[in-house]
């Protein structure tokens, strides 16, 4: 979240992808960093222990959200 906001501030569009269990923390960081409406693409927790198939599933969930955040459609 921190990194996405910093990249956005430097003029590059950025999207943070985080797992649902960390949504509240992401929102708190966005608030603190002065961009409370900064959007997040949410995927199901966890990520670190997943195999390729499950990771692909998470990516499929994330892509339309990222697309919508970046393009508005």
């Amino acid at each position: 979240m921190h990194d996405a906001i910093e990249v956005e501030r430097r003029g590059k569009p950025a999207v943070a992808i985080c797992t649902d269990l960390f949504q509240a923390g992401a929102a708190a960081v966005a608030q603190m960093r002065g961009m409370p409406a900064f959007p997040v693409a949410l995927v199901r927790h966890p990520l670190g222990v997943l195999g390729p198939e499950e990771l692909l599933e998470r990516a499929r969930d994330a892509v339309p959200q990222v697309h919508k955040i970046l393009t508005g459609t």
Binding site: H2, F22, A24, G25, A28, V29, M32, R33, G48
Partner: protein, 342 residues
């Protein structure tokens, strides 16, 4: 008098309600105490110290002084607190990662130089235990600054899975007066009469008990073994290590001719697991992935320079090892001179 105490109790409850404590009562930061602390630091109240993550707002000397008073610090402790905060704000320290990570590590402070004795920072028995105001409150001032100024609220932004008790307070000193080696800060190039604070993001301390051998290698092998559990091999890569040799252990090790440098090299080489052992627990530690055979030793610590050896602790055949947080490429310990004149 009773009315005053009632107001004080009400105030403590208000601090709890506002979420500006670590869960323990705090000292009300009345103006006189804050001013005394700022004066003791010899710096302007409105001098900017830096931006404490995760909030990242600029904080001043006075902001840190408020939290030091709340933690129970005497005014003269503030220079140590300020130096520790400044050490943690070095980019290479990566404080943001530390205070938000699930790993739940905490900044460990080790103080060297004349200020140890001036402030009474305990370097002998029970260094990680209770009963010593300077240790307890300087470490606590760091935590309150992280919570109140940095905004690392537990379970919201501070996402430690477990955390550890050092997140309340984690401050010790080196026992320079009773060490076979030169003070740690002198080994790092500081003048002996310069006070310093070393800060490293750390797991909790682990007691290393070697009660029946006076042999240096027996003691060092036990330290190295305790330093490299499978569960401390992070996926990010080789870390740092703090080794604190208790009085009887360091005397035995020094009697056998070991310098601090030799201890660093010995432990670095032996705080290692075979690649095969790590593969059996699905480790993706970078050196495991790269290892040519299962028999290849994989050191947990990046280099001998990343084994930080201190002399501290009272009588008894005990020492401590304290594992680091993440790869030294992502976050590394920091040292800072303390602005203080004896």
């Amino acid at each position: 008098m009773e009315a005053g105490i009632g107001q004080y109790i009400d105030l403590l409850e208000r601090y709890y309600a506002e979420g500006v404590t670590d869960g323990l009562p705090v000292v009300p930061p009345v103006r006189a105490l804050v001013d005394q602390a700022v004066a003791a630091a010899g710096r302007a109240a409105d001098e900017v110290v830096g931006a404490i993550p995760p909030r990242g707002a600029l904080v001043t000397v006075e902001d840190i002084a408020v939290n030091a008073v709340m933690a129970g610090c005497r005014p003269e402790y503030l220079p140590v607190v300020l130096a520790a905060v400044e050490a943690m704000l070095a980019d290479s320290f990566n404080l943001f990662h530390l205070v938000t990570s699930t790993k739940g590590c905490a900044p460990l402070l080790v103080v060297n130089g004349p200020i140890r004795q001036a402030l009474g920072i305990n370097a002998r028995g029970n260094i990680f235990g209770p009963g010593h105001r300077a240790n307890a409150t300087i470490g606590r001032a760091i935590r309150l600054s992280i919570i109140n100024l940095g905004g690392a609220v537990s379970q919201v932004v501070d996402r430690a899975t477990h955390g550890h008790p050092g997140k309340y307070t984690y401050c010790i000193a080196e026992d320079e007066a009773d060490s076979p080696w030169e003070p740690y800060h002198v080994a790092r190039g500081y003048a002996r009469d310069q006070s310093t604070v070393f800060v490293q993001a750390c797991e909790g301390p682990k007691a290393v008990n070697v009660p029946t051998s006076d042999r240096a290698e027996a003691i060092l092998d036990c330290l190295a073994d305790m330093a490299c559990p499978l569960g401390s091999y992070t996926f990010t890569g080789a870390t740092e290590l703090v080794v604190i040799l208790g009085k009887e252990h360091r005397e035995a090790v020094a009697r056998a001719g070991y310098t601090r440098r030799m201890v660093q090299e010995y432990i670095h080489a032996r705080a290692a697991r075979r690649a095969g052992e790590l593969r059996r627990v699905d480790s993706v530690f970078p050196q495991v992935t790269a290892a040519a055979s299962d028999d290849e030793p994989v050191p947990l610590v990046r280099s001998p320079d990343h084994v930080h050896v201190f002399a501290a602790g009272g009588p008894g055949r005990m020492s401590s090892v304290v594992n680091g947080f993440v790869s030294v490429d992502l976050g590394v310990s920091s040292m800072r001179a303390i602005g203080f004149s004896t």
